[in-house]
Symmetry: C2
Subunit: 146 residues, 2 copies
Amino acid sequence: MENIFTDEYFMKKALIEAEIAFEKGEIPVGAVIVIDNKVIARSHNLTELLHDVTAHAEMQAITSAANYLGGKYLKDCTLYVTLEPCQMCAGALYWSQISKIVFGASDENRGFLKMGTQLHPKTKVVSGVLEKECAILMKAFFRTKR
Amino acid sequence: MENIFTDEYFMKKALIEAEIAFEKGEIPVGAVIVIDNKVIARSHNLTELLHDVTAHAEMQAITSAANYLGGKYLKDCTLYVTLEPCQMCAGALYWSQISKIVFGASDENRGFLKMGTQLHPKTKVVSGVLEKECAILMKAFFRTKR
């Protein structure tokens, strides 16, 4: 039987969250956290609505997943996020010791790779999953802001 | 008339928060955010109690201050924190565009200076305020954990 639980499969769930953010007038970034092929957290950027710079999709997902698991470490979990995490989110992921991070579009200006933020040595990173779809949503959003 | 509102004055308030964290069995870090010599947010580390790596004192203080101000930018605000911020907290402070960060003890291993986390260009940093008092609390805490 074919495995339907691919990185693309879960990134589509993150994209749905990003679309909800877009509809709310937020920078369209969405995230889900998965353990054993089960989504245990889903979230989207809410910085404008909450007037809170810490309300990035990833931060909410980390809190939510830890809540679900009853512990602060996200070992054996994978984060799917439509945009490359920033310094803050990568810093939170560092503390969480998450197993894997999968992101869609790159953030050449403020992404953690460019900024040199350190992840936990056990964390694997996969980039560019549904990159085009993730990037299109961002571009469409910033076009509405011009 | 003498100005009582020195950096030491507000760091003492942050230290009181750190002591509350200590009493709760949390790594003893406390923070306050001040605008116009008025404390608008006070918080202490709650990562163990909340099972949440994002519950650092600074993160809670940022959310709380933004809530008070009704906007996500912390311009004209100063954060006083007993320990040098980590990557995550410095990353959040970057987004907040906070005017000034004052910290007590340095974190040689996981502090943002060592990690190279970028702050907003408008943010000033003062270090070593009540450093000894802040560091003693940390050392006392880790002694109880051995």
